[in-house]
Subunit: 293 residues, 2 copies
């Protein structure tokens, strides 16, 4: 009738084992294993920290405030996971790529599923702000063979550091978003605007924590890609501006050495005309290598 | 101007060290140390669990729902801390008592600061429900000397398993609460009602998690004490009914062997009269030993 399973008494020494024994009857073995792993490591953290009752209550209140900051438009727990490096760690574990394949990084909260499919070379900058940029390169497999019919979904913040979905009614819809498809030669190209660094939302408890830790909320300038092609693992990644002031201190730890692009300022008039610009522009040439699926 | 501190790139292997290096400039060293300890152990847990992106998102949504369940009257993160054994671990770390002193357990959410001070022997049961109980004993120091002028703050749930503050307007105010003060002989006594087991609030995400783990939400029958006396460490504890069906599976892990009381059913008429009852009653005799402060 009742659970009279004898687990032994709870002590500092046995705490995690006593809790795990109590979870022994869970039908979902994966849930049970994950909870027991978390209990083991969190108990180890508590034993190392030795928080006072007041410190532990402050932690409870921080989590509560973080929950209260979440709504349909704001996910403060994802921000917390991001600034603690947990989101990047989960990304790394789920995207171990074979040697030679391009590396992944975090998706971020600003992807939009229904961005328009555009002809190669289109300019996705619809608000006319910022320094023009031409991005081009090839999608290859790990043998160096071009990948035809690869779908390239790109998005980025505007010259003021905001995504269109953060400024609905201010920026044009689908500003700086587009989907492209490679032909038989595997090449891609599109025009956009040189990205700028921007802060993660920092007016909530996570922003306050960052300040208490002596950290800034900025992500270095980047643009986002999701690459998909039949027979290949999909790749969610960024490429970064290596000259960005925050390139070594991304608030969410998204930077990897292999994700650095090169931004060349092109001042030659003929090259500007050929690229469809009437002023100096930045040229970013970057190839991606997809892992076979 | 900018943080250009070079921390090395984030990888599965270096993840926790890279995050800790980023926190190096925190002015609050205790905060920095605690965050870095948590990061180290949570990253270790993630590496052991290897959650899918979907599993991690489910975890984020569980925390979000837990936050949304918290309000002025409900603290779902404390419940989560309780059922994971974390509250008891923090209690144990903060209440290491010398040999021979009575042990502590969790405060719980139902203590009220302004309970009335009553004469020794008073009956704190104001709703007339349940089986009568007389509790008595001595407050001693670790040498066995009675402690005079010790303040004893007691509270418990009623015969239906609810504290007065959970049933405002249904139970009389301060039902089953009282504060007593020992005389020179260190003895205490009060009349109340035999406690019953009761569930922690289980209509939120923590209750759902308990069910998914094959666990019940019950706490075995107990009553609460806070004992305070000049020159001694204060003691927050329970005493438990060893015959309770949930005595080996307290949902919040509060039970310790030394906290078992003995409930003797007294049917002798003269003893009933002496205790101030006109029916059979339970006698609980329990001494407490305070650690010198």
């Amino acid at each position: 009738m009742f659970d009279e399973h004898e687990n032994g008494y709870f002590t500092e020494e046995t705490s995690a084992e006593v809790v795990a024994a109590r979870n022994a009857k869970a039908e979902d073995e994966r849930l049970r294993d994950c909870v027991n792993i978390l209990v083991k490591h969190i108990h180890a953290a508590i034993k190392e920290m030795e928080p006072s009752q007041e410190e532990w209550f402050k932690t409870i209140m921080f989590l509560t405030e973080t929950g209260h900051t979440c709504d349909d438009w704001r996910q403060e727990f994802i921000l917390l996971s991001d600034i603690m490096g947990v989101s990047m760690l989960v990304d790394a574990i789920n995207n171990r790529k074979p040697s030679g394949a391009s590396e992944s990084t975090v998706l971020g909260p600003f992807h939009v599923a229904e961005a328009p499919e555009l002809p190669m070379g289109s300019n996705i900058c619809l608000d006319g702000k910022g320094e023009p940029m031409l991005v081009r390169g090839r999608i290859l497999d790990t043998d160096g063979t071009p990948v035809a019919d690869a779908k390239i979904d790109v998005w980025q913040a505007n010259d003021e550091g905001f995504y269109d979905v953060q400024q609905k009614g201010i920026q044009p819809d689908f500003n700086l978003r587009g989907v492209f498809r490679t032909g038989p030669d595997g090449t891609y190209s599109f025009r956009a605007v040189k990205p700028k660094f921007y802060p993660i939302p920092d007016d909530g408890p996570v922003g306050k924590l960052l300040r208490s830790l002596g950290r800034h909320p900025y992500r270095p300038a980047h643009f986002h890609y999701i690459l998909e092609a039949d027979g290949f693992e999909s790749l969610t990644t960024h490429i970064f501006d290596p000259d960005d002031p925050y390139i070594n201190s991304d608030a969410v730890f998204g930077v990897k050495e292999s994700l650095m692009a090169k931004f060349d300022l092109i001042e030659d008039r003929a090259a500007q005309q050929e690229a469809g610009f009437d002023e100096a522009f930045y040229l970013v040439e970057h190839d991606f290598v997809l892992a076979k699926g």
